[in-house]
């Protein structure tokens, strides 16, 4: 956990990609789940944030 946080602080690719992937995954689950309409409403913004973040952080150093 400490390594993960220090990776985030030092703008390292691995932990930031993990965060972006988690956001994309969360967004897709929110988009397709059948339970909460509010989650569906905010799904796109979560997926978009994750995808843009993924594109940016994949250029960070290892």
């Amino acid at each position: 956990m400490r390594d993960f946080l220090s990776g985030l602080a030092r703008l390292r690719r691995g932990p930031w990609e993990a965060v972006a992937s988690a956001l994309i995954g969360l967004g897709v689950v929110m988009l397709m789940q059948p339970f909460v309409m509010v989650a569906y409403t905010y799904s796109f913004i979560v997926t978009l944030t994750g995808t843009v973040m993924f594109l940016i952080v994949s250029h960070f150093p290892e």
Binding site: E17, A20, S21, I24, G25, G27, V28, L31, M32, Q33, P34, M37, Y40, T41, Y42, S43, F44, T47, L48, G50, T51, F54, L55, S58
Partner: protein, 318 residues
């Protein structure tokens, strides 16, 4: 300048080039020549992929209707707002999720098992491979059409097979006419058609595993079960993941097969996102709205594909 007997076709072509052209080409750097060769492809890519994408994003912020000749207004994020609060579109997303999840799960299980069986050396396995691969070679429109006949409650073979095993009356249920069965009807047809694709990719993966690894495992007295989980599965995993990526993207935009089979019905229970999108764009002619819908789907697939490719690279590095 006469041809010597040893001259290659390239030499002859070089000699045939007019000196003026040859001088010009000699003046270009390797990089420039590379650009000349690549430029048509890049131009085509920009014209066919990138420009429509940018244009779609632009249209998604407007109230443009392709069938009306009126001034286009920029309406900000209103299309996105409408889509993301529309309960009907939410239902199509759920129908797509159901279709995606079950088709991929069942196809992976059956496809990998078939590949594993075909990979065992037995007489006629080439013939079996060809027979299994046949459904994949058919047109989705044809498959959709003949499965509608197979699913007919009165004359359909499918109902008779089910009744043979379960004892139920063949005309007592309709796979494409009942709300609870129709989502499974499209899963069955897609599985029938595309499991061979997963099987072929897995077969390539299994055949790429060298025999000496299994021989070494046998020397170490590893059981077949252990060999399967520690050699076969990890080494075929990148291929399996690639197959899942291809099928995932394809099934997310599944259109022809389902339109032919159920037309999105009964009601809208099998109306997948691509069918719904086509209706918004080309039946209701809400072009701006449909563009926003397409952008939402694009971002979702792009995001998923990005993390999937990252996972695939990690597996390959192992």
């Amino acid at each position: 300048m006469t041809d010597t007997p040893a001259a290659t076709p390239a030499d002859r072509l070089a000699r045939a080039t007019p000196p003026r052209v040859a001088r010009k080409i000699r003046g270009l750097s390797d990089r420039a020549i590379a650009w000349i060769f690549v430029a048509p492809t890049i131009f085509l890519l920009l014209a066919v992929n990138i420009f429509p994408l940018i244009w779609t994003i632009n249209l998604s912020f407007t109230n443009f209707r392709a069938n009306r000749n009126r001034e286009v207004e920029y309406i900000g994020f209103r299309n996105y707002e409408r889509i993301l609060t529309d309960s009907d579109i939410w239902l199509t997303m759920q129908a797509t999720a159901h279709f995606l999840f079950w088709t991929i799960l069942i196809q992976v299980l059956i496809g990998f098992t078939l590949a594993w069986l075909i990979n065992r050396k037995f007489r006629g396995n080439d013939l079996w491979t060809t027979i299994i691969v046949l459904p994949m070679m058919l047109s989705p429109a044809v498959v959709g059409n003949f499965w509608t006949f197979l699913y007919q409650p009165q004359i359909g073979l499918f109902n008779y097979v089910v009744s043979f095993f379960t004892g139920a009356d063949p005309s007592s249920f309709s796979m494409i006419g009942q709300v609870n069965l129709a989502p499974w009807a499209i899963v069955i047809v897609d599985t029938w058609m595309w499991t061979p694709f997963i099987m072929l990719i897995c077969l390539a993966g299994l055949r790429s595993i060298p025999d000496y690894i299994y021989e070494a495992a046998e020397v170490d007295r590893a059981s077949p079960w252990r060999q399967f989980w520690t050699i076969t599965v990890p080494m075929a995993l990148p291929f399996l993941m690639l197959a899942v990526l291809f099928r995932g993207i394809e099934n997310f935009k599944m259109f022809d097969l389902v339109v032919q089979l159920t037309g999105g019905g009964p009601g809208s229970v099998t109306e997948l996102t691509s069918i719904n999108l086509k209706r918004e764009a080309f039946e209701k002619w809400r072009t701006g709205y449909a563009s926003a819908y397409a952008v939402i789907l694009f971002v979702t697939v792009f995001g998923l594909a990005s993390i999937y490719v990252k996972a695939l690279n990690k597996v390959k590095e192992r």
